[in-house]
Amino acid sequence: MFAERLDDLPGKCVFMEPAVRGLSAFGFAFDPFEHLDSTKDAHLQEYLVIPKAVEIALSDQPVAIFAQPGGGKSALRIYASNFYKDSRGVRFPVTYIPETYSTETNFHFEGMNRSLARAAFMYLVSYPDLYFALGSENKQKLKRLLLEIPFGLDFNLHALSESRFVSDLEQALGVPAFSGIPRLDRTHRQLARELEKESSSKPLSLENCFELINNAFGAKSIHILVDGLDGFMETRSSQALTTWIEPLLNILDRWDQGNNYLKFFLPMDISDAPALVNLSAVRSAALIWDDNLLAEVVRRRVFVASSGRFDSLDAISAPDVRNVELTLVRQLGRKEKLPRQVIIKSRSLLRALIVSGKSEISSKHLFSIGELPYAKVL
């Protein structure tokens, strides 16, 4: 069937997006179920469903959020980061995801220092005029903070004066900008020159960095989002993982007093680790999904992808088919009741609909997703 359709094309490999093309016939502007990976999802902020219990992730206190793999841990972390970023840095977000494994005592703090340097650099890029208005002491301290930036400050200042778009820097440093300024212009080049001229001594300690972010940028609190801790072979066991983060748990109280909050995004299996349970300083919550919430996950995506034209797959179903979302959720096994699984399920349903060439979802589609041609794709 596929080959026949493509036979019409000239001999060259011509690439099309049949899925997306097919979707537009159903009123979708994009594929709502394309992204399983929240880091690449441009619409996350618009359609993420957040269970009530984990709304504390956005509050002003140290927090631990637990979730199953595929339970939406990273999505919530990115959501929180965007949320703080939208405050223009009044609540200053720093994302710390260790990129390697080491048991050195200061490992996490050094990593955070670098994350903070990235974020501070992007803040200055977002509001370059802010720097010119700072006093000389803050200017000097900022330079010291920025010494920790990956690839070195020298390299980054060259990148700042030579690149054309803020997005070039965002990509290289892996940190989003705070403002909506798209282009790099002469103000940025002036910033690069002034930062280069500024005298520099040794790097600033982490706690002095926090203070600087408050004083120079006017941040009222700093939120350090800690994720990806369980991504290493060495941290698969919950024992090893708790040991690894112990140094961080020990400073919670002290940082709290300076309005600096650590927010942990952790795998569910360490939620009952004594080191965490006994901590009074941190509030914890688990990302847990019930059928209705999962159905809502699908509905929100449908709503956004249809540009708000409809909020349920019922809209593109035969009139005798109702509650498509809930039906899909109920088809999942007990252990599969996670956003990722229901998204995959919905994706297969839409693909099956497109492949079948029908104009609406019938109960046959709904109950035989596994037997349709696209099931070849796991």
Partner: protein, 385 residues
């Protein structure tokens, strides 16, 4: 065409005490948040927002700022600094820096000035986020659902979002039709207050306040208008026969939502006649359900129906609700009244055609047959015989 109804006059304002109390309660209970008034065309959202603004303006600890996105006038607020209003044209994306400038000055906010004009709005927005003042800002934005997507997203990005960064803030919005896709949680979870039509006694109050010569006919006006304040107002101001005035009112409430090129002539008449047909459908409908009813024997019926739906959706007098599309009740109600009064032969034809279509759908989807039985309004059938 008369445009007098696009003017706010607090003296004519009737009822809505329940809504005021809700807003007051929310303000007292919470530190911050959002309230959205949703309602159909002519249900009085704009007037309510202006009245809310007027009342907040009188309270010292409040700092209200009203943004009116569509052409409107409010002579009594002409000299106010905390309002953005234009009787001539719609709000545009390009107005954002000026609007931000006005808001920041009104709220006495410090901001960094930059040489590049394009970037200034980012510094304004930053200033708004860092705002440190005792008074609680209350931002009121009228008809935000109806404005173009790009304008709305910019408003959200540069004004609503930064202002929401502070500890104490309230946002009051109004809108009609499909809900926009917000990216801020405060807006996604904002308290939605639906504006219902006025009861007979408040129709009377409205007519009296506007010193209508028809105040005595309040019962009939309430029945014909369905209690929608805008229709009450048009009927109350008109000196024509009620049935003619109702016809005018229907034209006004439809025309003003349509794009410029659809408002007059043949195109408008066609749209109006299709709206009359759709007003008879008693269940939420899908396009395939009604295409044969709207365009019988037309080989292009699906494309035609799609086009019509797109116009109506953009006009926000049609919206999707759970099981299908529904026309605004503020249109369905007067249209049905008007059709019943007129007793056109076309009206009978439409009902017959609708019955045929309902029958066909019942056969096509046996398991949904009770649903499609309800497609034809029973009260009208009995009225007809």
């Amino acid at each position: 065409m008369q445009k007098s109804y696009k003017v706010f006059n607090s003296a004519e304002f009737a009822d809505r005490n329940a809504e005021f109390e809700r807003v007051q309660a929310i303000l007292q209970e919470r530190n911050r948040g959002g309230v959205i008034f949703e309602g159909e065309r002519g249900s009085g959202k704009t007037t309510l927002l202006f009245e809310l603004y007027r009342r907040f303006h009188e309270q010292i600890e409040m700092k209200p700022f009203l943004i009116s996105l569509f052409p409107y006038s409010a002579p009594e607020f002409e000299s106010n600094k905390n309002i953005w209003i234009n009787s001539e044209r719609m709000f545009q994306k390009e107005d954002i820096p000026n609007l931000l400038n006005r808001i920041t000055r009104y709220l006495e906010i410090d901001f960094i000035e930059t040489e590049d004009r394009d970037f200034q709005k980012d510094y304004f927005a930053r200033g708004l986020a860092y705002r440190a003042s005792k008074a609680v800002p209350i931002l009121l934005v009228d008809s935000i659902y109806e404005c173009p997507d790009d304008v709305r997203t910019e408003l959200e990005k540069y004004i609503l979002t930064p202002i929401l960064a502070s500890e104490r803030v309230f946002i009051v919005l109004s809108g009609r039709g499909k809900r926009p896709i917000w990216s801020r949680p405060e807006l996604q979870t904002a308290e939605i207050i639906e504006l219902h039509p006025l009861t007979e006694i408040f129709v009377k109050e409205q007519l009296e306040k506007m010193k209508s010569t028809r105040a005595a006919e309040f019962q009939q006006i309430a029945e014909l208008s369905g209690g929608y304040p805008l229709i009450v107002r048009i009927l109350g101001e008109s000196d024509k026969a009620l049935i003619t005035a109702l016809n005018d009112a229907i034209d006004i409430i439809i025309q003003d939502t349509l794009p410029e090129n659809e408002r007059e002539g043949k195109r408008y008449l066609e749209t109006r006649s299709q709206i009359e047909k759709l007003s008879l459908v008693d269940i939420p409908f899908r396009i395939p359900d009604v295409e044969d009813y709207l365009y019988p024997n037309d080989p292009e019926q699906r494309a035609q129906a799609n086009q019509l739906f797109n116009v109506l959706l953009a006009s926000r007098i049609l919206r999707y609700e759970g099981k299908g599309y529904q026309l605004n009740q503020s249109i369905v109600h007067p249209v049905r009244k008007w059709l019943a009064l007129k007793q056109h032969s076309e009206y009978r034809n439409n009902l017959d055609q609708l019955k045929r279509v309902s029958q066909k759908l019942q056969e096509e989807y046996p398991s949904a047959s009770t649903w499609y039985q309800r497609m034809v309004p029973t009260d009208l059938i009995t009225a007809q015989h």
